[in-house]
């Protein structure tokens, strides 16, 4: 087998080898059992005492969500004002300017919601202070928010008939001190030793062989690049993200970054199995997610390795596959794997330019974000998956002649209402966003914004449509990767994507947690022979079908006008 593909398989196996024990560890840690990171306890106790938090006070789902929303809005204001006045704050050796209000709005939201869509470039658009205390800080807390919300859900299914679902602050702080922080330390060290900058000095300069003076941006980047992946954030220190040679110097760091972004989402699936003592269910869930990921990955790799038919028609051979927009040190197969991993999981970091990918990979990446639950982001991936489970449970429960129930709780009108709204929300914000931008583009091409709508798109026709569709899909999925080629730093895109980001983040967290909270309060029904078991492959197929149908059905016409049309016109 060719080395490129074996490299990908090796990376995936390495991910599993770390994720499974990590899952066991997470389950033990939240289960209150002893772990070898217990030495962090005094730190946590200090934080709790300092903040006046009593972690023994258990919350119901509403209190959990109130705590989550409160602290998130505090961060939002904090981030917005820091970015707005960053030029006057310390740690700005390069003298970078303030962000404009619409850019600061977009950036603040984007990092609070774990999306990390960047309409700015790290080298010039942020200072070391904001990179550190706004962006990196948010990369930790937004990931921890997702994990904490997921644990509310886990807790709801562990205990029978209860509205006491643990303490949000406890889940939240421990997600940082026991999961994100230790892993980040290890990873940052690896990156630093491989050449990623770790310095507070201003831009470096050197004289090139041609005699020109070149400036090289740097900064304390290694630390941020660690949490950017571990927390499925994706926002890079440099504008070019992990395609930048300093952000991702070699194949080893590339592998480390690939593994890092995947381990927590996968570990959480296993953690569910161990924590709830429903291992078989976790395996079914993992299989569905993995098959979904593979179905996206294989066509992507295939298209990239085979290169572009348009170039082939010109009589140019492409022995290394489609190399436009890719780094030579990674190659098409590895890049294809990154493309899919970064989109199924809501990381959104890139090691190539997605705009240059073939139409099929573009299609697959958008599908990955439209489903947004094949592993998915830190915590939120399972929350999204859970909505599909509820719908699948409902339909299949009816199909076997029994009022649908999940983990011993009846699914009734109220839960269906929430699940339908959440399932509806994702296509709603993506399609409406794209519709508005298409409308503006066609009917107001000369609007007086920083970038005129007529100049938004780098490419005409189908590919241009994909650029807009991708931007909203990435925002709604809290992914943050860009198709690029879109002139997005202007008031229209900053603001519209900002709102899409907000809707795409908090409702899909509140919805599943609310369902779990309501279900936890319901009568527990013991299993009988008539109960539909949720840990069978049949049920797995059902969930898969629901995900596919909901995503495929709502996005098919839009995709037909974007990547599908592009693909067929390229042939």
């Amino acid at each position: 087998m060719n080395t490129e593909i074996s490299g990908v398989i090796f990376t995936y196996l390495l991910t599993l080898a770390i994720a499974i024990p990590l899952g066991i560890y997470i389950a033990r840690m939240f289960g209150g059992q002893e772990t070898w990171l217990d030495f962090m306890a005094p730190v946590e106790r200090f934080i709790f005492r300092f903040s006046g938090i009593d972690t023994r006070k258990e919350m119901n789902w509403k209190q959990h969500m109130l705590a989550l929303l409160t602290i998130n809005s505090v961060w939002l204001f904090y981030a917005f004002f820091c970015l707005l006045y960053q030029a006057h704050l310390p740690l700005n050796p390069d003298g970078n300017p303030n962000q404009t209000p619409d850019l600061a709005f977009n950036t603040a939201i984007s990092f609070v919601v774990n999306c990390n869509l960047q309409d700015y470039s790290g080298e010039s658009g942020a200072t070391y202070f904001t990179q550190h205390f706004v962006i990196m800080f948010l990369q930790f807390v937004s990931a921890a928010t997702g994990i904490a919300a997921l644990f509310v859900l886990f807790k709801a299914f562990r205990d029978k008939v209860t509205d006491k679902l643990g303490n949000f602050w406890d889940f939240f702080v421990k997600s940082i001190t026991r999961i994100l922080l230790p892993l980040s330390v290890v990873m940052a060290i690896i990156l630093a030793f491989n050449g990623t900058p770790t310095s507070y000095k201003a831009k470096d300069t050197f004289i090139t062989l041609q005699g020109d003076t070149a400036h090289v941006s740097r900064g304390p980047a290694a630390a941020m690049i660690a949490i950017k992946h571990l927390g499925t954030n994706g926002g890079g220190w440099f504008g070019a993200n992990s395609a930048h040679p300093l952000e991702n110097p070699n194949y080893l760091t590339n592998t480390v970054e690939l593994v890092a972004q995947t381990i927590i989402p996968i570990a959480l699936v296993f953690a569910l199995g161990f924590y709830l003592k429903k291992k078989k269910f976790a395996y079914v869930m993992f299989s569905v997610m993995t098959i979904g990921m593979l179905m996206l990955l294989i066509p992507t790799m295939n298209a990239e390795i085979n290169g572009s038919p348009a170039i082939a028609r010109m009589g140019i051979s492409q022995p290394t596959g489609s190399m436009e927009g890719k780094e030579v040190r990674f190659g098409p197969a590895n890049t294809a794997y990154w493309n899919i991993i970064t989109t199924v999981i809501s990381t959104g970091s890139v090691n190539s330019m997605h705009d240059s990918a073939m139409p099929v990979p573009g299609f697959m990446m958008m599908m990955a974000m439209m489903t947004n639950c094949f592993y998915g982001g830190c915590g939120v991936g399972i929350l999204n998956f859970y909505i599909f489970i509820i719908i699948a449970v409902f339909i299949s429960g009816l199909m076997v002649g029994r009022t649908p129930e999940f983990f011993g709780r009846k699914i009734e009108a109220r839960e269906m209402k929430i699940a339908s709204i959440i399932a509806l929300l994702h296509p709603f914000i993506i399609l409406v966003g794209t519709a508005i931008s298409s409308y503006v583009l066609v009917h107001m091409p000369n609007a007086d914004w920083a970038v005129k709508p007529s100049a938004w798109l780098n490419n005409p026709s189908f590919h241009g449509f994909s650029e807009m569709l991708y931007q909203y899909t990435s925002s709604a999925a809290n992914n943050g990767s860009g198709f690029e080629g879109l002139g997005d730093n202007n008031i229209f895109w900053n603001v519209s994507a900002g709102f899409v980001l907000l809707f795409g983040r908090f409702l899909p967290i509140i919805g599943p947690v609310a369902i779990a909270g309501i279900l936890a309060n319901k009568k527990f029904i013991p299993e009988s022979a008539g109960t539909l078991k949720s840990d069978t492959s049949t049920f797995g197929i059902m969930v898969f079908a629901v995900i596919l149908i909901v995503a495929a059905l709502s996005f098919f016409p839009a995709l037909a006008l974007g990547p599908i049309a592009e693909h067929f016109s390229l042939k």
């Binding site: 429960g397 519709a435 527990f524 013991p526 022979a529 539909l532 709502s554 839009a558 049309a565």
Partner: protein
């Protein structure tokens, strides 16, 4: 009045056809959000058709008008499905009601008899019925006993006995008194009998959506909304791509994508469920009860009459040591001669079969000793000083020991053996000396064990309720294959058992007839009262079984499951259909301006217009094609939930993806001839 086998009867069809148009009224249709949006689309198409008569740009009038007609048919088909289900249910209920309409009644006012029509009877009135009279309305016997022919209601030809007091005091309107004379008090207001309620339920006026139906409607509304968004946003997308899309194409796409199939059949499925219950001779008081039946976890069944054939029978004689079999049998027969209970009779029967027994008659002037609760024995004293007794083990032993006799060990062993085999031992003594023991056995109904096995596969636990001692109860429970039993049951034990099961989150059903069953019937999630039972029992339960058949619960469970399954499978089918419809319509929308998308026309449909027409036509005709399935229900097979899901997913899921590809292609070939 038994089940009609044909699904569609001429008269019902014509009523339903008329109803399909009446139901077009928006106020009625808004109850069904999916079909309501189709109606709006139809209306828009009507306007577009008129517009296209004089203007260009929206396609030809013929094309637009055809789309309009097909959409109108879609709504009409859905209305027809609901109407035919209503008509069938109503016809079934009416045929029951007819039996009781306008019979003369002999009303008693201050002791004087007057003749009135049955419709004039009010609650609390008292009337008289004698042999040959039809009972004018539902009521409770307050005086007398009578044999009654209930075949008009139950179809069972054997007459039944009804008497005042006790648990068999209820009479139903439309039945006929065969002997004797009874005084009956009317228990329901005119127009409020169970049948009247049932008819109202079927007619829709008082038909409420069940919780499950509401949840499904929400999901379907969700899907409808998604497709509203898909279609509305398609307009700016198409503008960007410079692809004009006609209104007809937009509306066709929308109507095809929203789940019209299940949306159109949903209420028909619910009505058909109640109708099926009615065909099984069960009157349900709400649609919810039928649905709940499908979820039952636990079934409480009385032993006598349900699991066993009414009464115990003598099966063998065990004489004590030193007593000849012949003399023992003679004593047994003597002790039972005056015993009118079925057990007593069965002893004489058994003795007559054995070759040793001569035919015995009681000596003249014998004194019969009747069974009392205190002595727990019966027998006879002959003039020549013979005292024969038979009775429960401990009471006869007391008699023997009091008289200074020993209780033989081998008899005691036999007693224990019989008990542990589920039998009832009766000890016989003569002049206070123990002669031996008679074994009485319960006879388990043939086929009952298989029915319990079927229930077990459905996930329903069966519990036997009996007054027997635990040992006997256990034996019968094992033999009949029930999962649990309540021995030496008092009425409150049933109640406690139900409560305990419900505490554990289970849904419990029970069947009962007596007034003392009423609290438990009310407590149970599904309480089925026998029609022969007391008024209190019937009020307490949420179903009434006209056949008085205790095994009916099994059928009810299946009807409930069928109801849910029909909804689930048709939802799946409906949504799976969308895949093919997309492949018909999406290329049709864009093919002209984006030739590359011809590649999506995998069905190779003739033209954009024919593709759109065939998709909407398929969408419309699938509704009437599925009406029989909606009315009959999807067959339930107790093969375990996962296997059932696999089966239905294969048939309705995969089938739902594939069938429309074939269907649309065929219709397209037809449509292409006309275009």
């Amino acid at each position: 009045m038994r089940t009609q086998n044909t699904l569609f009867q001429g008269e019902q069809v014509s009523v339903a056809l008329k109803q399909s148009f009446i139901k077009l009224h928006p106020r009625q249709l808004i109850r069904n959000p999916v079909m309501f949006t189709v109606e709006i689309g139809t209306f828009v198409m009507l306007i577009v058709s008129i517009y296209s008569l004089t203007n260009k740009g929206q396609g030809s009038f013929g094309y637009n008008f055809t789309v309009f007609i097909v959409l109108l048919l879609t709504v009409l088909f859905a209305n027809f499905a609901e109407a035919i289900a209503e008509a069938r249910g109503k016809a079934q209920a009416e045929s029951l009601r007819k039996t009781r309409e306008e019979t003369p009644a002999r009303l008693l006012v201050n002791g004087k008899e007057t003749r009135v029509m049955s419709s004039q009877l009010k609650k609390g009135d008292v009337f008289i019925c004698e042999a040959g009279d039809n009972i004018p309305t539902d009521g409770e016997i307050i005086e007398g006993i009578a044999t009654i022919d209930e075949s008009a209601i139950t179809g069972e030809s054997a007459p039944v006995i009804r008497e005042s007091g006790g648990d068999k005091s209820s009479v139903t309107g439309g039945t006929k008194v065969l002997s004797d004379r009874i005084k009956v008090m009317v228990t329901t207001q005119p127009g409020e009998s169970f049948l009247d309620k049932m008819i109202a339920l079927v007619e829709g006026a008082s038909r409420q959506k069940t919780p499950n139906e509401i949840a499904l409607t929400i999901l379907l509304a969700g899907f409808t909304l998604i497709f509203v968004i898909v279609c509305v946003t398609l307009k700016p997308f198409a503008d960007y791509a410079n692809t004009p899309i006609t209104i007809a194409a937009f509306i066709s796409l929308f109507v095809c994508l929203i789940p019209t199939t299940i949306g159109g059949l949903l209420s028909a499925i619910g009505i058909a469920g109640m109708d099926r219950a009615l065909r099984a001779n069960v009157i349900t008081k709400s649609g919810k009860a039928v649905e709940t039946a499908g979820d039952l976890d636990t079934l409480l069944l009385d032993k006598t009459g349900t699991i066993t054939i009414g009464n115990r029978k003598a099966t063998s004689f065990y004489p004590a040591k030193g007593i000849s079999e012949e003399s023992f049998v003679i004593a047994c027969v003597l002790s039972s001669l005056a015993d009118e209970t079925p057990e007593g009779k069965s002893i004489v029967e058994l003795a007559n079969q054995s070759k040793t027994a001569p035919s015995i008659i009681a000596p003249k002037d014998s004194v019969f000793i009747k069974f009392t609760a205190e002595t727990r024995s019966s027998g006879l004293d002959t003039p020549n000083g013979l005292r024969v007794r038979k009775g429960a083990f401990d009471s006869i032993r007391n008699i023997a020991i009091k008289a200074g006799h020993q209780f033989p060990i081998e008899v005691e062993d036999n007693v224990k053996k019989i008990s542990s085999n589920g039998g009832t031992p009766l000890v016989v003594s003569q002049n206070e000396q123990i002669l031996g023991v008679i074994e009485l056995q319960d006879i388990i109904k043939p086929g009952i064990a298989e029915r319990f096995e079927r229930l077990r596969k459905m996930g329903v636990k069966t519990v036997m309720v009996t007054g027997d001692n635990p040992l006997t109860a256990k034996f019968i429970a094992e033999k009949a294959g029930v999962d649990d039993f309540i021995a030496e049951a008092k009425p409150e034990d049933k109640m406690n058992y139900i409560k305990a099961e419900q505490q554990g989150g289970k849904l419990v059903a029970m069947m009962g007839d007596g007034t003392n069953d009423a609290p438990a019937l009310a407590q149970a999630d599904v309480g089925v009262a026998m029609n022969s039972g007391t008024q209190a029992a019937k009020e307490a339960g949420n179903m009434v079984d006209l056949d008085n058949d205790p095994t009916k619960l099994i059928e009810i469970v299946e009807i409930g499951k069928q109801l849910l399954m029909t909804r689930g499978t048709l939802t799946t089918f409906s949504i799976a259909n969308d895949v093919a419809k997309y492949f018909a319509i999406v290329p049709a929308l864009f093919m002209v301006s984006i030739p590359a998308l011809k590649a999506l026309n995998i069905m190779d449909l003739h033209s954009p217009q024919s593709a759109i027409l065939s998709a909407v036509i398929f969408n419309a005709i699938i509704i009437p094609l599925l009406i029989p399935l909606a009315l009959r229900g999807v067959e339930y097979k107790p093969i375990g939930a996962s296997a059932l899901l696999r089966r239905n997913l294969l048939i309705y899921g995969l089938g739902g993806v594939l069938i429309p590809f074939v269907g649309i292609k065929l219709i397209d070939m037809l449509v292409a001839i006309f275009i």
